[in-house]
Amino acid sequence: MTESLFFFFASLTLLCAVMVVVSKNPVYSVIFLILTFFSISAHYILLNAQFLAAVNIIVYAGAIMVLFLFVLMFINTGKNVESTLKKNVLAKIAGTVAGGLLFTIVVAALKDVTLGHPDPATFNSQVGMVENLGKVLFTKYMLPFQLVAVLFLVSMVGAVMIGKREAGEQNF
């Protein structure tokens, strides 16, 4: 049951991810990206990490993708970009080379990877639950957790500084 579900969601994830790239309409791309996040959340649930699944949906599907869609709605769907890209042979060659290089790197990196095999006798299946995740974050990974919080604060202050209206600036 779990295995067939895994393969179903894995193929769904890959299909949606491919459709993000292939879709001509950027709005469709965003919708497929949302579906990709959903199927990734399904993987988290299969791994018994419900908190991660919910947070993935709230943060990515619920907030970031709304902003993506928000911006895309202001842009008149890019037909002009499409046509200039199609005619440019140089862009195609550059794209092929870059994509090939990336593929080579991925193959080289994953070639020697061995999958981790947790010992079934000592493995705790509740490791992904909220309580355990919280305990680990606030004990073992305390410093990185705090640093990430500071990083977010800095980026928030930066966003406010960029968006702030200076005194005397034209108000439109």
Partner: protein
């Protein structure tokens, strides 16, 4: 899980789905009746006794209206929009505990569809998806006013989700659990969270109004400036589904507020009532059934409050809306978190 429990869960989920649809249907009737009462009119009174069949007549009318799709609209997304709105609205009531356990024979039945340990996060995630229905529908209509409505809906939802999440954190600090069932159980008797979280409840209430696009936050569909906002181009049952989704959202948000702050199915002196019966099973079942009634009474009180506000307060201006969200509610909810944390520390210092 044995088959009896599986069948029970299936029936229960269907029942909850049916109840939320029924309540949404009759919310339209009561909205018009309450509006009429506030404005000193009679309200719908033609279809059936006291106009009680009015929602059915409305639904029949919507089904027979012409199905219209604008010429340059994106057809797929135009149809998908109301579908997403409806689907997301109907999904969210799954984790709400409408009552305690019923004991029949040897087995005990939980009156909750799915008890996950991330209950409130599930609702939060599903509610945050609700805006896609509005955005996609508004964009696909290929109409400036629809697009404006969609954009307003998106920015409003994102702004108020932050304050909503922050006000929620204070409740979670008190309860120590994300499961709505556990949060409900902790408020047994009259030990409701509202006594500890009055400020948090106020913030949550305001954000709930904004998330469901109700007056005074109904800028996405403000008929005076945007015609109808995101549903300007919609007709027939597609329009009906948007309106329906809004009423289901009101029902769900009311249920969440009743669960988080007003003790869910708990009522004062419930332990005394439970102990008054000689048979513990009978006592438990009586208390549970009264608890379900109490839960729905609380939900209806909140739905009435939503309608009362709609016909009493005028709409915000857009800059006022943004200022309230970012400059007032978010700092207030952070203050609420600090106060709650300080309160918990003081309590532990003096009691241990």
């Amino acid at each position: 899980m044995d088959s009896v429990l599986l069948i029970y869960k299936g029936i229960y989920i269907l029942a909850i789905f049916g109840i939320s649809l029924l309540i949404a249907t009759y919310s339209t009737y009561f909205e018009r009746k309450i509006a009429a009462f506030i404005q000193d009119r009679v309200g719908p009174n033609r279809a059936g006794p006291m106009g009680l069949l009015q929602p059915l007549a409305d639904a029949g009318k919507l089904f027979f209206k012409e199905e219209f799709i604008p010429a340059k609209a994106n057809k797929t997304l135009f149809i998908l929009g109301p579908g997403i709105a409806m689907l997301v609205a109907a999904m969210s009531s799954a984790v709400i505990p409408f009552g305690d356990t019923l004991i029949i024979g040897e087995t005990s039945f939980d009156l909750i569809a799915i008890d996950v340990n991330i209950g409130i996060l599930y609702i939060f995630g599903v509610v945050s998806l609700g805006v896609y229905g509005l955005m996609i529908g508004g964009w696909a209509s290929n109409n400036k006013f629809s697009l404006l409505g969609a954009i307003r809906a998106a920015s409003q939802n994102i702004s108020y989700e932050l304050a909503m999440g922050l006000s929620l954190i204070a409740v979670l600090m008190l309860s120590g659990s994300l499961s709505l069932k556990v949060i409900a159980e902790q408020q047994a008797g009259f030990n409701w969270n509202i006594w500890y979280q009055p400020l948090g409840f106020l913030i949550f209430l305001i954000c709930a109004f904004a998330e469901t696009n109700r007056t005074p936050f109904d800028l996405p569909e403000s008929e005076a400036e945007l015609i109808g906002g995101y549903h300007t181009e919609y007709s027939s049952m597609k329009l009906g589904m948007y309106l329906f989704a809004e009423y289901i959202n009101i029902f769900v948000v009311s249920a969440v507020m009743a669960t988080l702050y007003f003790g869910a199915y708990n009522f004062p002196f419930m332990e005394n009532l439970r102990n008054a019966f000689d048979d513990p099973v009978l006592g438990n079942n009586v208390v549970t059934i009264i608890g379900v009634a109490v839960m729905f009474a609380k939900i209806f009180a909140f739905i009435f409050f939503f309608m009362w506000v709609r016909w009493t307060l005028p709409r915000f201006r857009y800059d006022q809306l943004m200022k309230l969200g970012w400059n007032i509610l978010i700092p207030l909810s952070i203050l609420n978190i600090l106060l709650t944390g300080g309160g918990i520390l003081l309590y532990e210092y003096f009691t241990k």
